[in-house]
Every structure is written in C-alpha cells, then in structure tokens.
C-alpha cells in the first residue's frame, strides 16, 4: 500500500533537519517556486485532496475562495487535535515536524500568504517546543524568512498554544482564540477565506492536510489522484483505538475495508471478544454495528452507510460493554466542551446527560427514548457550530442500532421509583 505520510515516520531523528533533508525534505520548494502560485492551487485541486480534520472540504477549492487582492492574508494550521479517538496529528508533529513546515510553505506560496500560525492545543506544550526547534532550523536554512531561496517570497511561521478547549478546533472559534478572545464560534458567513484572522482572508487547514501537499508538488497531482477511490483520493491516517489488540495510527489508501483496519492492521478484538460496534470517524460521527464492518473506509462509502469519515478515528467497541455506557461518556464530553453560546447545545447536552444517566441508574422508562430523540431533533443543525450535532450523533445511532441495550436498564426498574 502506498504511504505518503508514514513512509519514513519511524526513521531515527526524522524530526531533525539533517535527517529530513536526507530523505528529500524541502525539495518541493524549488519546484514550487518555478511555478506561478495559481498553478499550485490548481494542482491541489486536481489532486482531489480533501480536508483531513473532519469536514472533508476540498483543499484546493478552499484555497481558491480567498478574497481577491486583499492582503495581508493568513494561514492557520489547526493542530488543536481534541476529537476523542483522534491522535494522528500528534504523531506527525512529534516525529515529522518539518513535513508540516514544508506543507505550510507550499500553501503560503500558493495563496500569497506571508504569516502562518500553528495553533496547538494547550496540552501539546512539549510538541510546541519540538515545532519551535524545527522552525528555527528552517529559518537558519533560509526556508523561512525574507526572499526564501531567492524567490522573492517571504514567510514567517509561529506556534501558538491554546489552553484547554475542544471547541477551538472549530475554525472560527480557533480564530477568536488566536485573536486573544474566548473560543466561541463565529456566525458564518463571512467564511474565513473572506474574513478570517484579524478580519483578513485566512486559510485554515488541518495538520495532516498540509502534510500531504509536498507529495502533490513533488510527485504531481495525477499520482495523488490515482490513489484511493474514484471520489476519495489519496491516503488517510486512521487512529485505531478501543478494544483492539494493536491500537495505533495506520495509513491506508482510501477505500480500504474497515475490517482490514480492525482485524488485520490493529490485530483484531482484545481477548478475542466479538466486535459489537465501531465509530469510524471520531466521537462526533454516528456509530455502526458490527455487520457494517466491511464498509470501505472512504468519504462516500461511510456516508452511504449513514456515518462519516470525520477525523479518521476508528473507535472499536466489543460485546463486553453495554453501548449506553459508552454513549453517556460521549455525551458527558460534549456537555463539558459546549461553549454555552447557543441554547440548543448548552441546554440540550445537559438534558441528554441527565436522562441517560437516569436510565443507567435503572430509573428510566421506555418513553425516555422518545424524549431523547425529540431533544436530539431540536439540537441538530440549530447552533452556530457542529458541536451540538456531534453530541446528537452517538445518541441517535446508539438508539437506532442498540435499542435493546437501553431496554436492559428498563427491566430492572424497582417498583415505586419516582419518575
């Protein structure tokens, strides 16, 4: 299987300039600078690369939406990786920081950007030090700064640490946070491409997305487009976690069956239990039952199966637990992380939590399920950002596929329990 991002990931000292250049690092810059910026944007469009952070928006298209002739423009790399189940960006940042820098240089040249920020979640303090060191090395080599490699192109890149807020991974909340405000999402439009950081045109891309760009420039858009399926091009890092024997980040060509990831790459289910459910794209997407495990891991096939590829975090659940336990944990996460700006999200996440907790205390009744569905219906797509929708996903899908797990709790309701 072709690997773009993880080909050399375990090479010793890959995080240093010397080793990175030794495997051909930063070679794409000369090639890029011999082309017009627009040609790079077109190549990224033609490559079929889509955002790897969660939404899956076509990357080249995003770049082409920047407001014309408005400067300065900014690039923000989203390294606020916080979606439960997801830890692929952490591995890239930890082991291959120069790949991200190279990708950011290419994006900035293509979009005529002279300042870039890497927004890392606050808990990634150690990674910010690694990144700062790599940035220093790149400056010393003349890959950053004024007139890079004599091209006339200038670029500075800085790291910026958040301070513990999942919502700052949402792009408009990230911008507010980077501007020194509370990390609450903004109303869209205007989209960041028109009014982003400091109200200037801004590109926001995930770490993994930017790390693919050097491959596209080096090898050509066609070579990237030839990987994967007809509509889902390229490769994807998938964080496989939960009840598997060999949890880890694995790079696959899009379209690889999910079962291959679980049973082959990740070594199958722990204790040889039976697979019960899996969440294919991080905690924000609907879970699927075991009989869908052969679904090809790509954007379209997962959408057709009623879920999403999301951030590429495959959470595997075996038959040793009641699905309601896992669902409550996820609701609890969204309740904790709701910024409180929009009523459906702020109140809805709490109500869902209260009801499911009551069910688990054997104080529920069948009508509670209808109530849960009703609340979900009033939360989804009714807030500024997708956090409420994300909270709804595990609830609705767990009821759809594992209703009997809820009903288990209704069997043992003691007589006379106040409802």
């Amino acid at each position: 299987m072709t690997q773009i991002l993880f080909k050399d990931i375990n090479k010793k000292n890959l995080h240093t300039m010397k080793v990175y250049e030794g495997i051909g690092g930063y070679q794409s810059l000369k090639k890029a600078f011999s082309q017009k910026p627009e040609e790079i944007v077109e190549a990224v469009k033609a490559s079929g690369l889509r955002g790897r952070g969660g939404a899956g928006f076509p990357t080249g298209l995003k770049w082409s939406f920047l407001a014309k002739d408005v400067f300065p423009r900014y690039l923000c790399c989203n390294a606020d990786e916080s979606e439960p189940g997801t830890c692929k960006d952490r591995e890239l940042l930890l082991k291959n920081p120069h790949l991200l820098i190279e990708g950011m240089i290419l994006c900035s040249y293509a979009c005529r950007i002279e300042t870039g920020y890497i927004y890392l979640r606050g808990e990634f303090h150690d990674l910010s030090l690694i990144m700062d060191k790599a940035l220093d090395e790149a400056r010393a080599k003349g890959y950053l700064g004024k007139n890079i490699l004599g091209s006339g192109f200038n670029l500075e890149i800085h790291t910026h640490l958040g301070a513990g807020a999942y919502i700052c991974g949402e792009e408009s909340a990230l911008l507010n946070s980077l501007e020194g405000g509370r990390g609450e999402p903004r109303m869209k439009p205007p989209f960041p491409a028109v009014e982003g950081l400091y109200s200037k045109p801004t590109v926001i891309n995930n770490v993994e997305t930017l790390c693919v760009v050097p491959y596209i420039v080096n090898e050509g858009a066609d070579k990237h487009a030839a990987l994967g399926t007809e509509k889902s091009k390229g490769t994807k890092l998938v964080s496989v976690s939960g009840h598997v024997k060999k949890p880890g980040n694995y790079e696959i060509e899009l379209g690889t069956p999910t079962s291959e990831l679980i049973f082959n790459m990740a070594g199958g289910i722990q204790n040889d239990n039976k697979l019960k459910a899996f969440i294919p794209g991080g905690s924000s997407v609907p879970m699927l039952p075991a009989d869908k495990v052969d679904t090809p891991y790509d954007y379209e096939s997962l959408a057709e199966a009623g879920t999403m590829l999301g951030s590429g975090a495959l959470i595997v659940i075996d038959d040793s637990i009641n699905i309601v336990e896992a669902t409550l944990r996820l609701i609890s996460f969204y309740m904790h992380e709701s910024c409180g700006k929009c009523t459906p999200c702020r109140e809805g996440t709490r109500w869902l939590h209260q009801i499911v907790e009551r069910i688990m205390q054997n104080k529920g009744q069948l009508e509670y399920i209808t109530k849960l569905e009703d609340i979900c219906d009033n939360m989804a797509f009714k807030a500024f950002c997708p956090l409420a929708d994300a909270c709804v996903a595990p609830v609705v899908s767990s009821i759809k596929y594992f209703r009997s797990d809820y009903e288990e709790y209704f069997k043992n309701v003691p007589a006379g329990v106040a409802r």
């Binding site: 910026h160 020194g180 509370r182 976690s241």
Partner: protein, 158 residues
C-alpha cells in the same frame, strides 16, 4: 492589591511573544500561560499586569481566562495529574485506574494532597487514544497504564 512584577527574563520573553502578532491582544493566552508556568496559578494581580501590557481591562483578561480549563486561580499541586476518562480510555479500563490513583494519593478526584505535591483531575481526551489508558503529569504523557505503572510513576516523582 500589590503590583505584579514580571521578572527581567519574563519581560524579554514577553517582547518576543508580542513580536509574533500584528495585534497585541493575540498575546493574551501566551502571557497567561507564561505567568501560570512560573506561579502555578494566575492571580488577580497578574491579570491586571497582563491587561496593562496588552491595553485591555482586567475584566477582559478574566473573562477570556475563565473560558479555558488549563488556567487556575487557586494553587494546585507541584504535579498536576490529568487522567483521561474519554471513550478510548474508558474502553480500556481507565475508571478503575483512576480510582486506584485516587486511593494511592489518598485524595478524591479534583483534590490536592495535603503536602501540595499532587493534584488529581479527570480530563477529557488528550489525543493519545492509541496508548489508552493514559494520563498527563505536568507536560509528560504516560500511556498504556496499569496499576503497577501508575505506582511506579507516582513514586518516581519527587
């Protein structure tokens, strides 16, 4: 209220931070982080001083700060243990391990030991799901935890 004084080194660091941004307010989170890393909390005096550096009111500083879970206004232990309890860790038995850790430290989750050495908190996902169950102690990530490994880690910290 006594005036908060930045050290010479901090002043130098602050100048470096301010150079990164075309708009000063962007330095707010970095400055809060700088203060907390030296004082282990952000005091009201420090909020005023940060506000003065960035031309914003202390109330603004406080309102932004209160949004983020990593800033503290109360003293915490020398070692802050953040124990991940989200789904991948849950599936790998973190609840029992968290109980074990609290028992070992003889505190409840959310509390600080009487010698002010350890504070124990539940934490939402820390992005190390493939190493679940895991915890973060100050800046260090520890994965693939077992009761024995937790004991060893805690005993090794002085």
């Amino acid at each position: 209220m006594a005036k908060y004084k930045f050290t010479k080194n901090q002043e130098k660091e602050i100048s470096g931070i301010l150079e990164k941004y075309p708009v000063k307010t962007s330095a707010l989170l970095p400055l809060l982080t700088l203060v907390q890393r030296s004082d282990q909390l952000v005091s009201p005096e420090a909020m005023v001083a940060i506000g003065e550096k960035l031309d914003v009111s202390p109330a603004y500083v406080q309102s932004v700060m209160s949004f983020y879970t990593m800033y503290h206004t109360q003293k915490v232990g020398k070692y802050m243990i953040l124990f991940c309890i989200n789904i991948s860790c849950q599936l790998n038995g973190c609840d029992k391990l968290l109980e074990h850790t609290a028992r070992k430290l003889n505190i409840k989750v959310g509390e600080t030991t009487s010698d002010e050495k350890f504070t124990l908190h539940r934490e939402e996902c820390l992005a190390a799901c493939t190493e679940a169950p895991m915890m973060r102690v100050n800046d260090t990530y520890y994965g693939n935890l077992t009761e024995q490994r937790i004991d060893q880690i805690i005993d090794s910290l002085d």
